[in-house]
């Protein structure tokens, strides 16, 4: 149980630190469309510094920021799961639903991060490179699938637990 408490503390800390970013993102998105030029903010998309701020770049940036909001929501759901674990509600319906939700959101987030960054590279830097290694897109996609599988496993475990409890 000590490991669970340590994990909960780390996730809580990360959640608290990421909370102030949410209103900033929500304020920044409409401002970015109103302001014509804001070169005073240094931006990077997957290691590529943004130099031109046209509508396309702004849309790409907005989509990527929205995916970041989804990741923060995933942390919130994960906190809820850890709270259930601490209360020894391991096979609760909320745990299964939240694991599935996290999986779906991570997959969506991976596409929201992956596709705009590819589009940016194609349209603005005009060079396509093949890189080996773990990219954020692949990592989030795998993590999403992992959480979805975890949800399925918990669903099976819950059924087995119920059957075990109803075996006289």
């Amino acid at each position: 149980m000590r490991k669970l408490i340590i994990l909960k503390s780390i996730v809580d800390l990360f959640w608290i630190l990421s909370l102030p970013i949410v209103p900033l993102i929500l304020i920044f998105i409409p401002i970015s469309f109103i302001t014509a030029d804001f070169n005073y903010f240094p931006f990077k998309i997957n290691g590529v510094e943004i130099e031109t701020f046209d509508l396309g770049t702004k849309i790409i940036l907005t989509v990527m920021l929205l995916s970041y909001l989804l990741l923060i929501y995933c942390i919130y759901l994960f906190r809820k799961i850890l709270t259930c674990f601490i209360r020894v509600k391991i096979f609760d319906e909320a745990v299964i639903t939240n694991f599935n939700k996290i999986g779906n959101l991570l997959m969506l987030s991976s596409f929201l991060i992956g596709i705009p960054s590819i589009l940016y590279k194609i349209y603005y830097t005009e060079n396509i490179r093949f890189e080996l290694g773990i990219s954020p897109f692949i990592f989030l996609l795998c993590l999403g699938f992992f959480f979805m599988i975890l949800s399925e496993i918990f669903k099976i475990s819950r059924k087995m637990k119920e059957e075990n409890e109803l075996t006289i």
């Binding site: 059957e163 109803l166 075996t167 006289i168």
Partner: protein, 69 residues
């Protein structure tokens, strides 16, 4: 579930209370109630053996298969 548990009838014919049977076979009254109500998903051979021994009957007297249900 198409399996019917006729434990109620067996207890009534032997004029035995659920509490007494539960004590005799070594399970809780709550578990016996689950078995009687048909909510049970499975029954252990050891439990079935104990019930048959306590009620002096055969497993077929307790369990019945009815495909209509």
């Amino acid at each position: 579930m198409p399996i019917i548990v006729n434990l109620d009838i067996m207890l009534a014919t032997r004029k035995m209370r659920s509490k007494d049977l539960a004590e005799k076979i070594g399970i809780t009254t709550a578990n016996l109630s689950v078995l009687k109500s048909g909510k049970a998903k499975a029954i252990r051979f050891s439990t079935l053996e104990a019930i048959c021994e306590a009620l002096d009957c055969q497993p077929s007297d307790i369990l019945e298969f009815s495909p209509e249900l």
